[in-house]
Protein backbone atom coordinates (compact mmCIF):
# COMPACT_ATOMS: atom_id res chain seq x y z
CA UNK A 1 0.00 0.00 0.00
CA UNK A 2 2.71 2.47 0.93
CA UNK A 3 4.89 2.02 -2.17
CA UNK A 4 7.92 3.23 -0.30
CA UNK A 5 6.95 6.07 2.03
CA UNK A 6 10.10 6.80 4.03
CA UNK A 7 9.68 6.47 7.78
CA UNK A 8 11.11 9.92 8.36
CA UNK A 9 8.27 11.46 6.35
CA UNK A 10 5.72 9.89 8.70
CA UNK A 11 7.53 11.22 11.70
CA UNK A 12 8.10 14.72 10.38
CA UNK A 13 4.46 15.38 9.64
CA UNK A 14 3.41 14.55 13.15
CA UNK A 15 5.64 17.31 14.43
CA UNK A 16 3.90 20.63 13.99
CA UNK A 17 1.77 23.17 15.77
CA UNK A 18 -2.00 22.83 15.59
CA UNK A 19 -1.75 19.12 16.35
CA UNK A 20 -4.90 19.12 18.46
CA UNK A 21 -3.39 17.00 21.21
CA UNK A 22 -4.38 17.29 24.85
CA UNK A 23 -1.95 17.49 27.79
CA UNK A 24 -1.76 13.69 27.78
CA UNK A 25 -0.52 13.69 24.20
CA UNK A 26 -3.71 12.06 22.93
CA UNK A 27 -6.09 13.62 20.38
CA UNK A 28 -8.46 16.12 21.95
CA UNK A 29 -11.92 15.90 20.33
CA UNK A 30 -12.75 19.35 21.69
CA UNK A 31 -9.71 21.08 20.23
CA UNK A 32 -10.89 24.23 18.52
CA UNK A 33 -8.52 26.54 16.69
CA UNK A 34 -8.65 27.95 13.21
CA UNK A 35 -4.93 28.63 12.73
CA UNK A 36 -5.58 32.24 11.75
CA UNK A 37 -4.68 33.69 15.14
CA UNK A 38 -8.15 34.75 16.24
CA UNK A 39 -11.22 32.70 17.09
CA UNK A 40 -13.83 33.63 14.45
CA UNK A 41 -16.97 35.30 15.71
CA UNK A 42 -19.14 33.51 13.16
CA UNK A 43 -20.35 30.29 14.83
CA UNK A 44 -23.44 29.47 12.79
CA UNK A 45 -24.75 30.17 9.33
CA UNK A 46 -28.10 31.78 8.65
CA UNK A 47 -28.88 31.60 4.92
CA UNK A 48 -31.37 34.44 5.27
CA UNK A 49 -28.50 36.65 6.44
CA UNK A 50 -25.50 35.57 4.43
CA UNK A 51 -22.22 37.14 5.56
CA UNK A 52 -21.34 40.22 3.52
CA UNK A 53 -18.84 39.77 0.72
CA UNK A 54 -15.84 42.06 0.68
CA UNK A 55 -16.01 45.19 -1.45
CA UNK A 56 -13.47 45.59 -4.23
CA UNK A 57 -12.13 48.71 -5.87
CA UNK A 58 -12.53 49.07 -9.62
CA UNK A 59 -8.87 48.20 -10.10
CA UNK A 60 -9.26 45.04 -8.02
CA UNK A 61 -12.40 44.10 -9.92
CA UNK A 62 -10.57 44.57 -13.22
CA UNK A 63 -7.82 42.24 -12.07
CA UNK A 64 -10.42 39.72 -10.95
CA UNK A 65 -12.05 39.99 -14.35
CA UNK A 66 -8.80 39.02 -16.03
CA UNK A 67 -7.85 42.37 -17.52
CA UNK A 68 -4.31 42.02 -16.21
CA UNK A 69 -3.74 38.37 -17.03
CA UNK A 70 -5.07 34.94 -16.27
CA UNK A 71 -2.75 34.09 -13.38
CA UNK A 72 -3.22 37.54 -11.85
CA UNK A 73 -6.98 36.99 -11.93
CA UNK A 74 -6.61 33.65 -10.16
CA UNK A 75 -4.41 35.24 -7.51
CA UNK A 76 -7.14 37.82 -6.90
CA UNK A 77 -9.87 35.17 -6.85
CA UNK A 78 -7.93 33.20 -4.24
CA UNK A 79 -7.57 36.23 -1.98
CA UNK A 80 -11.23 37.17 -2.30
CA UNK A 81 -12.61 33.67 -1.73
CA UNK A 82 -10.28 33.02 1.19
CA UNK A 83 -10.92 36.39 2.79
CA UNK A 84 -14.69 36.08 2.53
CA UNK A 85 -14.54 32.87 4.57
CA UNK A 86 -13.05 34.78 7.49
CA UNK A 87 -15.22 37.89 7.31
CA UNK A 88 -12.80 40.16 5.45
CA UNK A 89 -14.44 43.46 4.56
CA UNK A 90 -11.96 44.56 1.92
CA UNK A 91 -8.47 44.12 0.55
CA UNK A 92 -5.75 46.35 1.94
CA UNK A 93 -2.53 47.42 0.24
CA UNK A 94 0.55 45.83 1.75
CA UNK A 95 3.71 47.67 2.74
CA UNK A 96 7.15 46.83 3.99
CA UNK A 97 8.16 43.52 2.46
CA UNK A 98 6.75 39.99 2.47
CA UNK A 99 8.13 37.04 4.41
CA UNK A 100 7.25 33.53 3.30
CA UNK A 101 7.34 30.08 4.87
CA UNK A 102 7.28 28.44 1.45
CA UNK A 103 10.75 27.03 1.93
CA UNK A 104 10.75 23.23 1.90
CA UNK A 105 11.04 21.28 -1.32
CA UNK A 106 9.00 18.30 -0.17
CA UNK A 107 6.72 16.46 -2.62
CA UNK A 108 3.73 18.00 -0.82
CA UNK A 109 4.76 21.35 -2.22
CA UNK A 110 4.45 20.20 -5.82
CA UNK A 111 1.02 21.81 -6.46
CA UNK A 112 2.22 25.11 -5.01
CA UNK A 113 5.35 24.99 -7.16
CA UNK A 114 3.15 24.47 -10.22
CA UNK A 115 0.81 27.35 -9.50
CA UNK A 116 3.56 29.81 -8.60
CA UNK A 117 5.44 28.79 -11.74
CA UNK A 118 2.32 29.78 -13.65
CA UNK A 119 2.51 33.17 -11.92
CA UNK A 120 6.20 33.58 -12.71
CA UNK A 121 5.59 32.62 -16.33
CA UNK A 122 3.06 35.45 -16.54
CA UNK A 123 5.65 37.85 -15.15
CA UNK A 124 4.16 38.31 -11.70
CA UNK A 125 6.54 39.35 -8.93
CA UNK A 126 6.16 40.20 -5.27
CA UNK A 127 5.44 43.85 -4.52
CA UNK A 128 8.84 44.13 -2.79
CA UNK A 129 11.95 41.95 -2.53
CA UNK A 130 11.03 39.43 0.12
CA UNK A 131 12.62 37.25 2.76
CA UNK A 132 12.27 33.49 2.99
CA UNK A 133 12.61 30.99 5.81
CA UNK A 134 15.94 29.12 6.06
CA UNK A 135 16.66 26.30 3.67
CA UNK A 136 15.79 23.01 5.42
CA UNK A 137 19.25 21.51 5.19
CA UNK A 138 22.92 22.41 5.18
CA UNK A 139 25.04 19.80 3.49
CA UNK A 140 28.22 21.79 4.17
CA UNK A 141 28.02 22.08 7.92
CA UNK A 142 25.37 19.84 9.45
CA UNK A 143 24.29 16.79 7.45
CA UNK A 144 27.58 15.41 6.26
CA UNK A 145 27.42 11.62 6.43
CA UNK A 146 26.33 9.72 3.30
CA UNK A 147 23.24 8.33 5.03
CA UNK A 148 22.22 11.78 6.21
CA UNK A 149 22.72 13.25 2.76
CA UNK A 150 20.55 10.55 1.20
CA UNK A 151 17.75 11.30 3.67
CA UNK A 152 17.94 14.96 2.77
CA UNK A 153 17.94 14.38 -0.99
CA UNK A 154 14.98 11.99 -0.71
CA UNK A 155 13.08 14.13 1.81
CA UNK A 156 13.49 17.40 -0.08
CA UNK A 157 13.69 16.38 -3.76
CA UNK A 158 12.16 19.66 -5.00
CA UNK A 159 14.39 22.01 -3.01
CA UNK A 160 16.18 23.54 -5.99
CA UNK A 161 12.86 24.10 -7.75
CA UNK A 162 11.64 26.09 -4.75
CA UNK A 163 14.85 28.11 -4.60
CA UNK A 164 14.70 28.79 -8.35
CA UNK A 165 11.08 29.90 -8.07
CA UNK A 166 11.87 32.40 -5.32
CA UNK A 167 14.50 34.05 -7.48
CA UNK A 168 11.94 34.43 -10.26
CA UNK A 169 9.27 35.85 -7.92
CA UNK A 170 11.51 38.38 -6.18
CA UNK A 171 12.99 36.55 -3.21
CA UNK A 172 16.14 37.98 -1.69
CA UNK A 173 19.56 36.41 -1.66
CA UNK A 174 20.22 33.18 0.20
CA UNK A 175 22.42 34.91 2.77
CA UNK A 176 19.28 36.49 4.23
CA UNK A 177 17.39 33.21 4.56
CA UNK A 178 16.09 33.19 8.13
CA UNK A 179 12.99 32.87 10.25
CA UNK A 180 14.29 36.03 12.01
CA UNK A 181 13.64 38.33 9.08
CA UNK A 182 13.16 41.34 11.35
CA UNK A 183 16.75 41.46 12.64
CA UNK A 184 18.72 44.54 11.56
CA UNK A 185 21.19 42.48 9.53
CA UNK A 186 18.36 40.86 7.53
CA UNK A 187 16.43 44.09 7.36
CA UNK A 188 12.79 43.09 6.93
CA UNK A 189 11.26 45.08 9.77
CA UNK A 190 8.31 47.10 8.49
CA UNK A 191 7.20 50.12 10.49
CA UNK A 192 4.53 49.83 13.16
CA UNK A 193 1.04 49.64 11.73
CA UNK A 194 2.17 48.39 8.30
CA UNK A 195 -0.07 45.77 6.74
CA UNK A 196 1.83 42.69 5.58
CA UNK A 197 0.87 39.07 4.93
CA UNK A 198 3.62 37.01 6.48
CA UNK A 199 3.86 33.32 7.15
CA UNK A 200 6.19 31.46 9.59
CA UNK A 201 4.62 31.26 13.00
CA UNK A 202 7.50 32.83 14.92
CA UNK A 203 7.95 35.73 12.48
CA UNK A 204 4.23 36.51 12.49
CA UNK A 205 4.21 36.36 16.26
CA UNK A 206 7.22 38.68 16.56
CA UNK A 207 6.12 41.01 13.79
CA UNK A 208 2.69 41.62 15.27
CA UNK A 209 3.92 41.80 18.85
CA UNK A 210 7.41 43.34 18.77
CA UNK A 211 7.20 45.49 15.65
CA UNK A 212 3.50 46.27 15.83
CA UNK A 213 2.93 45.38 12.18
CA UNK A 214 -0.38 43.86 11.19
CA UNK A 215 -0.45 40.40 9.67
CA UNK A 216 -2.70 37.43 9.90
CA UNK A 217 -1.36 33.96 10.58
CA UNK A 218 -1.15 32.97 6.93
CA UNK A 219 -0.69 29.43 5.76
CA UNK A 220 2.04 28.44 3.37
CA UNK A 221 0.96 29.57 -0.11
CA UNK A 222 -1.41 32.31 0.97
CA UNK A 223 1.58 34.40 2.08
CA UNK A 224 3.11 34.42 -1.38
CA UNK A 225 -0.28 34.80 -3.04
CA UNK A 226 -0.76 38.07 -1.12
CA UNK A 227 2.80 39.12 -1.95
CA UNK A 228 2.11 38.77 -5.68
CA UNK A 229 -1.11 40.75 -5.40
CA UNK A 230 0.40 43.38 -3.08
CA UNK A 231 -2.83 43.07 -1.14
CA UNK A 232 -4.37 40.98 1.62
CA UNK A 233 -7.87 40.35 2.92
CA UNK A 234 -8.55 42.59 5.92
CA UNK A 235 -9.66 40.55 8.92
CA UNK A 236 -8.46 39.00 12.15
CA UNK A 237 -5.15 40.23 13.51
CA UNK A 238 -5.06 43.07 10.98
CA UNK A 239 -8.02 44.76 12.69
CA UNK A 240 -8.23 46.67 15.97
CA UNK A 241 -10.89 44.26 17.20
CA UNK A 242 -8.88 41.18 16.33
CA UNK A 243 -5.87 42.48 18.24
CA UNK A 244 -7.73 42.65 21.52
CA UNK A 245 -6.58 40.31 24.27
CA UNK A 246 -8.83 37.60 25.63
CA UNK A 247 -6.38 36.57 28.34
CA UNK A 248 -4.63 38.48 31.10
CA UNK A 249 -1.39 36.68 31.94
CA UNK A 250 0.00 37.65 35.35
CA UNK A 251 3.64 36.60 35.65
CA UNK A 252 4.61 36.37 39.31
CA UNK A 253 7.86 34.45 39.21
CA UNK A 254 10.45 35.28 41.87
CA UNK A 255 13.01 36.26 39.25
CA UNK A 256 13.48 36.43 35.50
CA UNK A 257 11.38 33.58 34.12
CA UNK A 258 12.52 30.81 31.82
CA UNK A 259 11.29 32.51 28.65
CA UNK A 260 10.77 29.32 26.68
CA UNK A 261 8.69 27.62 29.36
CA UNK A 262 6.75 30.83 30.00
CA UNK A 263 5.82 30.98 26.33
CA UNK A 264 4.98 27.29 26.28
CA UNK A 265 2.62 27.74 29.23
CA UNK A 266 0.88 30.69 27.60
CA UNK A 267 0.53 28.85 24.29
CA UNK A 268 -0.99 25.78 25.88
CA UNK A 269 -3.48 27.87 27.85
CA UNK A 270 -4.55 30.47 25.26
CA UNK A 271 -4.19 28.25 22.13
CA UNK A 272 -4.66 31.04 19.56
CA UNK A 273 -6.27 33.96 21.37
CA UNK A 274 -4.02 36.99 22.01
CA UNK A 275 -2.78 37.35 25.62
CA UNK A 276 -1.93 40.54 27.53
CA UNK A 277 1.10 39.78 29.68
CA UNK A 278 1.94 41.75 32.82
CA UNK A 279 4.88 41.49 35.19
CA UNK A 280 7.75 41.00 32.74
CA UNK A 281 8.51 44.49 31.43
CA UNK A 282 10.97 44.95 34.32
CA UNK A 283 13.35 42.55 32.60
CA UNK A 284 13.73 44.83 29.57
CA UNK A 285 15.19 48.07 30.98
CA UNK A 286 12.27 50.09 29.73
CA UNK A 287 12.30 49.12 26.06
CA UNK A 288 12.96 46.42 23.50
CA UNK A 289 16.55 46.58 22.25
CA UNK A 290 18.87 44.41 20.13
CA UNK A 291 20.38 43.31 23.44
CA UNK A 292 17.17 41.93 24.93
CA UNK A 293 14.86 41.11 22.02
CA UNK A 294 15.91 37.45 22.19
CA UNK A 295 13.92 37.06 25.40
CA UNK A 296 10.72 37.98 23.59
CA UNK A 297 11.78 35.82 20.65
CA UNK A 298 12.12 32.76 22.89
CA UNK A 299 8.82 33.40 24.64
CA UNK A 300 6.90 34.29 21.51
CA UNK A 301 8.10 31.36 19.43
CA UNK A 302 7.05 29.04 22.24
CA UNK A 303 3.57 30.60 22.35
CA UNK A 304 3.32 30.08 18.59
CA UNK A 305 4.52 26.47 18.57
CA UNK A 306 3.15 25.10 21.84
CA UNK A 307 -0.05 26.92 20.97
CA UNK A 308 -0.89 28.87 17.82
CA UNK A 309 -0.56 32.45 18.98
CA UNK A 310 0.06 35.14 16.38
CA UNK A 311 0.08 38.18 18.67
CA UNK A 312 0.79 38.94 22.31
CA UNK A 313 0.98 42.19 24.24
CA UNK A 314 3.40 43.00 27.05
CA UNK A 315 2.36 45.77 29.40
CA UNK A 316 4.59 48.87 29.18
CA UNK A 317 6.69 47.29 26.44
CA UNK A 318 5.19 46.18 23.14
CA UNK A 319 3.83 48.78 20.68
CA UNK A 320 0.09 48.12 20.99
CA UNK A 321 0.34 47.91 24.78
CA UNK A 322 2.26 51.18 24.94
CA UNK A 323 -0.52 52.85 22.96
CA UNK A 324 -3.58 51.38 24.62
CA UNK A 325 -2.54 49.66 27.85
CA UNK A 326 -5.15 47.44 29.47
CA UNK A 327 -7.83 48.86 27.19
CA UNK A 328 -6.65 46.08 24.87
CA UNK A 329 -8.37 43.54 27.13
CA UNK A 330 -11.87 42.44 26.15
CA UNK A 331 -14.52 42.85 28.83
CA UNK A 332 -14.87 39.19 29.71
CA UNK A 333 -11.18 38.28 29.63
CA UNK A 334 -9.84 35.29 31.52
CA UNK A 335 -6.83 35.36 33.85
CA UNK A 336 -3.91 32.95 34.09
CA UNK A 337 -1.33 33.38 36.85
CA UNK A 338 2.14 32.00 36.23
CA UNK A 339 4.46 31.70 39.20
CA UNK A 340 7.55 29.59 39.89
CA UNK A 341 5.44 26.53 40.68
CA UNK A 342 3.50 26.83 37.43
CA UNK A 343 6.71 27.19 35.41
CA UNK A 344 8.06 24.01 36.99
CA UNK A 345 4.74 22.20 36.57
CA UNK A 346 4.71 22.98 32.85
CA UNK A 347 8.38 22.05 32.47
CA UNK A 348 7.72 18.71 34.18
CA UNK A 349 5.18 17.78 31.49
CA UNK A 350 7.82 17.85 28.73
CA UNK A 351 8.51 14.24 27.82
CA UNK A 352 11.89 12.61 27.23
CA UNK A 353 11.42 11.02 23.79
CA UNK A 354 14.77 9.25 23.69
CA UNK A 355 14.91 5.45 23.87
CA UNK A 356 15.48 4.20 27.41
CA UNK A 357 19.00 3.04 26.66
CA UNK A 358 20.11 6.48 25.46
CA UNK A 359 21.44 8.55 28.31
CA UNK A 360 23.76 11.02 26.59
CA UNK A 361 23.10 13.65 23.93
CA UNK A 362 25.17 13.77 20.77
CA UNK A 363 24.28 17.26 19.49
CA UNK A 364 23.40 20.64 20.96
CA UNK A 365 21.13 23.01 19.06
CA UNK A 366 21.23 26.75 19.78
CA UNK A 367 19.17 29.15 17.72
CA UNK A 368 15.53 28.32 17.06
CA UNK A 369 14.33 30.76 15.95
CA UNK A 370 17.67 31.90 14.56
CA UNK A 371 20.15 33.58 16.87
CA UNK A 372 20.48 37.33 17.17
CA UNK A 373 23.90 38.99 17.21
CA UNK A 374 23.61 39.36 20.98
CA UNK A 375 22.82 35.69 21.44
CA UNK A 376 25.81 34.71 19.32
CA UNK A 377 27.93 36.91 21.57
CA UNK A 378 26.39 35.58 24.79
CA UNK A 379 26.88 31.95 23.81
CA UNK A 380 30.25 32.55 22.18
CA UNK A 381 31.79 34.22 25.20
CA UNK A 382 30.01 31.82 27.54
CA UNK A 383 31.44 28.76 25.82
CA UNK A 384 34.98 30.17 25.57
CA UNK A 385 34.96 31.37 29.18
CA UNK A 386 33.79 27.96 30.35
CA UNK A 387 36.50 26.20 28.33
CA UNK A 388 39.16 28.46 29.80
CA UNK A 389 37.90 27.97 33.34
CA UNK A 390 38.03 24.21 32.89
CA UNK A 391 41.31 24.11 31.03
CA UNK A 392 39.58 22.40 28.07
CA UNK A 393 40.49 22.95 24.43
CA UNK A 394 37.34 21.46 22.93
CA UNK A 395 33.70 21.19 23.88
CA UNK A 396 32.46 17.69 24.69
CA UNK A 397 29.28 17.89 22.62
CA UNK A 398 29.03 18.91 18.94
CA UNK A 399 27.17 22.21 19.02
CA UNK A 400 25.35 23.92 16.15
CA UNK A 401 24.73 27.67 16.25
CA UNK A 402 21.90 28.64 13.89
CA UNK A 403 21.63 32.12 12.36
CA UNK A 404 21.20 33.97 9.11
CA UNK A 405 24.47 34.14 7.21
CA UNK A 406 24.42 37.94 7.44
CA UNK A 407 24.16 37.72 11.25
CA UNK A 408 27.01 35.24 11.42
CA UNK A 409 29.06 37.54 9.19
CA UNK A 410 28.33 40.50 11.47
CA UNK A 411 29.72 38.58 14.43
CA UNK A 412 32.67 37.40 12.37
CA UNK A 413 33.55 40.95 11.30
CA UNK A 414 33.36 42.30 14.85
CA UNK A 415 34.86 39.33 16.69
CA UNK A 416 36.93 37.20 14.30
CA UNK A 417 39.13 35.75 17.03
CA UNK A 418 36.14 34.59 19.04
CA UNK A 419 34.64 32.94 15.98
CA UNK A 420 37.95 31.26 15.14
CA UNK A 421 38.28 29.94 18.68
CA UNK A 422 34.70 28.67 18.74
CA UNK A 423 35.23 26.86 15.46
CA UNK A 424 38.45 25.32 16.76
CA UNK A 425 36.63 24.23 19.91
CA UNK A 426 34.02 22.34 17.89
CA UNK A 427 31.16 24.79 17.38
CA UNK A 428 29.47 24.71 13.95
CA UNK A 429 27.80 27.74 12.36
CA UNK A 430 24.91 27.17 9.99
CA UNK A 431 22.01 29.05 8.42
CA UNK A 432 19.67 26.06 8.16
CA UNK A 433 16.52 25.29 10.16
CA UNK A 434 16.99 23.04 13.14
CA UNK A 435 13.46 21.68 13.23
CA UNK A 436 13.52 20.72 9.57
CA UNK A 437 16.09 18.01 10.09
CA UNK A 438 16.03 17.23 13.80
CA UNK A 439 12.40 16.19 13.41
CA UNK A 440 13.12 13.66 10.68
CA UNK A 441 12.75 10.10 11.88
CA UNK A 442 16.07 9.11 10.36
CA UNK A 443 17.72 11.64 12.62
CA UNK A 444 15.62 10.89 15.65
CA UNK A 445 16.84 7.31 15.45
CA UNK A 446 20.46 8.33 15.78
CA UNK A 447 20.60 11.94 16.95
CA UNK A 448 19.71 12.94 20.49
CA UNK A 449 19.80 16.68 20.88
CA UNK A 450 19.68 19.16 23.72
CA UNK A 451 18.47 22.69 23.12
CA UNK A 452 17.53 26.02 24.67
CA UNK A 453 14.53 26.29 22.32
CA UNK A 454 11.07 25.22 23.40
CA UNK A 455 10.11 25.27 19.72
CA UNK A 456 12.81 22.75 18.84
CA UNK A 457 11.70 20.64 21.80
CA UNK A 458 8.14 20.72 20.54
CA UNK A 459 9.05 19.67 16.99
CA UNK A 460 11.72 17.06 17.64
CA UNK A 461 13.01 14.56 20.17
CA UNK A 462 15.36 17.16 21.67
CA UNK A 463 15.49 17.80 25.41
CA UNK A 464 14.90 21.38 26.54
CA UNK A 465 17.38 22.78 29.05
CA UNK A 466 17.95 26.04 30.90
CA UNK A 467 20.86 28.04 29.48
CA UNK A 468 23.19 27.26 32.40
CA UNK A 469 22.42 23.56 32.21
CA UNK A 470 22.89 23.55 28.44
CA UNK A 471 26.32 25.15 28.78
CA UNK A 472 27.29 22.50 31.31
CA UNK A 473 26.16 19.72 28.98
CA UNK A 474 28.14 21.24 26.11
CA UNK A 475 31.22 21.16 28.33
CA UNK A 476 30.75 17.66 29.76
CA UNK A 477 28.58 15.77 27.28
CA UNK A 478 26.53 14.55 30.25
CA UNK A 479 22.94 15.45 31.10
CA UNK A 480 22.40 17.17 34.46
CA UNK A 481 21.38 14.77 37.20
Amino acid sequence: MTKGTPDYARYAERQSDMLGLGPDGKPDPNYDATAIGVTPTLTAYDPSKPPPQMKLTQEEQDILDGKKGKAHAKVMRTLVDHGNLFGATKLVDLGGAPHTSFFTGTPAMSPLIELFTECADEGLKAYAPYTVNPRPHDLYNVETSPDEQIMIFEGYPLQLEVDHLHVRLGGRNLDTRSCMCYLPEVGNAPKKGTFVAWAESSAINAGNSILGIRTNRNSCGMDLMCALAGKAPYFGLMTDEGRKAKWLIEVKTSGEPDWGVLGGAIGEKCVEDPPFIVGIDKYFDGKITPQNVHKLKAMGAATASNGAIGLYHVENLTPDALDKGRDLLVKDYQTYVIDDAEIERVRSTYPNLWPENVKKPNRAYIGCPHNTYQEMMNWGTGILDALKARGQEKIALPTHMFSATVVRDHVFMEHPVMMRDLKKAGVTFTNTCVVCFSGLKGYSDTEFGVTNSNKTRKYSNSIYLKDDDLLEVIMTGELPT
Binding site: M1, T2, K3, G4, T5, P6, A9, R10, E13, R14, S16, D17, M18, L19, G20, L21, K26, P27, D28, P29, Y31, D32, A33, T34, A35, I36, P40, L42, T43, A44, Y45, D46, P47, K74, R77, T78, D81, H82, L85, F86, S101, T104, T106, P107, A108, M109, S110, P111, L112, L115, E118, A199, N216, R217, N218, S219, C220, G221, M222, M225
Partner: protein, 149 residues
Protein backbone atom coordinates in the same frame (compact mmCIF):
# COMPACT_ATOMS: atom_id res chain seq x y z
CA UNK B 1 -32.95 6.02 10.63
CA UNK B 2 -34.93 9.24 10.40
CA UNK B 3 -33.54 11.82 8.05
CA UNK B 4 -31.98 14.79 9.80
CA UNK B 5 -31.25 18.13 8.19
CA UNK B 6 -28.46 20.55 9.04
CA UNK B 7 -27.70 24.02 7.72
CA UNK B 8 -24.12 24.99 7.06
CA UNK B 9 -22.22 27.58 5.08
CA UNK B 10 -21.19 26.69 1.54
CA UNK B 11 -17.43 27.14 1.27
CA UNK B 12 -17.30 25.45 -2.11
CA UNK B 13 -20.92 24.94 -3.09
CA UNK B 14 -22.32 21.94 -4.92
CA UNK B 15 -24.91 19.16 -4.99
CA UNK B 16 -23.64 15.69 -4.23
CA UNK B 17 -24.74 12.45 -2.54
CA UNK B 18 -22.66 9.80 -0.87
CA UNK B 19 -21.87 8.06 2.37
CA UNK B 20 -20.26 9.59 5.43
CA UNK B 21 -16.81 8.81 6.71
CA UNK B 22 -16.57 10.30 10.18
CA UNK B 23 -13.67 11.55 12.26
CA UNK B 24 -15.00 12.79 15.58
CA UNK B 25 -11.55 14.10 16.40
CA UNK B 26 -10.13 16.92 14.28
CA UNK B 27 -8.69 15.60 11.00
CA UNK B 28 -4.92 16.04 10.62
CA UNK B 29 -4.63 16.70 6.90
CA UNK B 30 -0.91 16.32 6.30
CA UNK B 31 -0.53 13.30 8.59
CA UNK B 32 -3.37 11.58 6.77
CA UNK B 33 -1.91 11.83 3.26
CA UNK B 34 1.70 10.77 3.80
CA UNK B 35 1.44 7.82 1.39
CA UNK B 36 0.10 10.07 -1.35
CA UNK B 37 2.62 12.84 -0.77
CA UNK B 38 5.78 10.84 -0.10
CA UNK B 39 4.91 7.24 -0.91
CA UNK B 40 3.92 7.48 -4.54
CA UNK B 41 0.38 6.16 -4.00
CA UNK B 42 -1.81 7.58 -6.75
CA UNK B 43 -4.82 5.27 -7.04
CA UNK B 44 -6.19 5.54 -3.51
CA UNK B 45 -5.78 7.68 -0.40
CA UNK B 46 -5.10 5.44 2.61
CA UNK B 47 -5.29 7.43 5.83
CA UNK B 48 -1.82 7.38 7.38
CA UNK B 49 -2.57 9.23 10.61
CA UNK B 50 -1.89 6.66 13.33
CA UNK B 51 -3.30 9.03 15.94
CA UNK B 52 -6.69 8.86 14.25
CA UNK B 53 -8.08 5.46 15.24
CA UNK B 54 -11.35 6.10 13.39
CA UNK B 55 -9.77 6.63 9.98
CA UNK B 56 -6.33 5.01 10.06
CA UNK B 57 -5.78 2.93 6.90
CA UNK B 58 -9.26 3.68 5.54
CA UNK B 59 -9.39 4.92 1.97
CA UNK B 60 -10.18 8.62 1.87
CA UNK B 61 -10.58 8.69 -1.90
CA UNK B 62 -13.97 10.06 -2.90
CA UNK B 63 -15.48 10.00 0.59
CA UNK B 64 -17.68 12.59 2.26
CA UNK B 65 -15.43 13.43 5.17
CA UNK B 66 -17.19 14.66 8.31
CA UNK B 67 -15.07 16.24 11.06
CA UNK B 68 -15.14 19.17 13.49
CA UNK B 69 -12.22 20.87 11.72
CA UNK B 70 -8.75 20.10 10.44
CA UNK B 71 -5.46 20.45 12.25
CA UNK B 72 -1.73 20.05 11.69
CA UNK B 73 1.08 21.46 9.62
CA UNK B 74 0.66 24.47 7.33
CA UNK B 75 1.53 22.07 4.49
CA UNK B 76 -2.03 20.73 4.86
CA UNK B 77 -3.36 23.08 2.21
CA UNK B 78 -0.75 21.88 -0.25
CA UNK B 79 -1.64 18.28 0.59
CA UNK B 80 -5.30 18.86 -0.23
CA UNK B 81 -4.25 20.37 -3.54
CA UNK B 82 -1.98 17.41 -4.18
CA UNK B 83 -4.66 14.75 -3.61
CA UNK B 84 -7.11 16.84 -5.64
CA UNK B 85 -4.56 16.84 -8.44
CA UNK B 86 -4.25 13.06 -8.20
CA UNK B 87 -8.02 12.69 -8.27
CA UNK B 88 -8.14 10.99 -4.85
CA UNK B 89 -9.39 13.89 -2.70
CA UNK B 90 -12.58 13.62 -0.68
CA UNK B 91 -15.52 14.52 -2.88
CA UNK B 92 -16.80 16.60 0.01
CA UNK B 93 -15.63 17.88 3.38
CA UNK B 94 -18.18 18.71 6.07
CA UNK B 95 -17.04 20.71 9.10
CA UNK B 96 -19.11 21.18 12.24
CA UNK B 97 -16.92 24.15 13.30
CA UNK B 98 -15.60 27.15 11.39
CA UNK B 99 -13.16 26.07 8.71
CA UNK B 100 -9.52 26.61 9.66
CA UNK B 101 -7.04 28.72 7.70
CA UNK B 102 -4.89 25.86 6.44
CA UNK B 103 -7.69 23.81 4.90
CA UNK B 104 -9.39 26.91 3.61
CA UNK B 105 -6.26 27.85 1.69
CA UNK B 106 -5.93 24.39 0.14
CA UNK B 107 -9.60 24.04 -0.71
CA UNK B 108 -9.81 27.52 -2.23
CA UNK B 109 -6.60 27.07 -4.22
CA UNK B 110 -7.66 23.63 -5.48
CA UNK B 111 -10.90 25.18 -6.67
CA UNK B 112 -9.36 28.27 -8.26
CA UNK B 113 -6.08 26.94 -9.65
CA UNK B 114 -6.77 23.29 -10.39
CA UNK B 115 -10.49 23.54 -11.12
CA UNK B 116 -10.93 20.42 -9.02
CA UNK B 117 -13.46 21.51 -6.42
CA UNK B 118 -13.80 19.70 -3.13
CA UNK B 119 -17.37 20.51 -2.14
CA UNK B 120 -17.10 21.95 1.35
CA UNK B 121 -19.60 23.05 3.98
CA UNK B 122 -18.64 24.41 7.41
CA UNK B 123 -20.50 25.65 10.51
CA UNK B 124 -22.81 22.61 10.56
CA UNK B 125 -22.81 22.63 14.37
CA UNK B 126 -22.07 20.11 17.09
CA UNK B 127 -25.45 18.42 16.57
CA UNK B 128 -24.27 17.38 13.12
CA UNK B 129 -21.20 15.65 14.52
CA UNK B 130 -23.30 13.97 17.19
CA UNK B 131 -25.74 12.69 14.59
CA UNK B 132 -23.63 11.52 11.68
CA UNK B 133 -22.23 7.97 11.70
CA UNK B 134 -19.91 6.09 9.38
CA UNK B 135 -21.76 4.89 6.31
CA UNK B 136 -24.77 7.16 6.76
CA UNK B 137 -26.20 8.35 3.46
CA UNK B 138 -25.48 12.05 3.09
CA UNK B 139 -27.03 14.49 0.63
CA UNK B 140 -25.39 17.89 0.19
CA UNK B 141 -27.25 20.76 -1.42
CA UNK B 142 -25.94 23.84 -3.18
CA UNK B 143 -27.28 26.14 -0.44
CA UNK B 144 -25.40 24.42 2.39
CA UNK B 145 -28.18 22.07 3.48
CA UNK B 146 -26.88 18.65 4.51
CA UNK B 147 -29.29 15.74 4.93
CA UNK B 148 -28.13 12.74 6.94
CA UNK B 149 -30.02 9.44 6.84
Amino acid sequence: MAKQTFQGRPVVAGDIDGNALVSKQPFNTTSSYIDNIWGGVTDSAPCTDQDNKELYQKDLNGVILCTPQTIGSSMGGGCLMAVAGLGVAPKAMLFSHHIDGVSAAGIVMANVWQEKPIITIDLLGDDFMNAVKNGDPVSIKEDGIVEVG
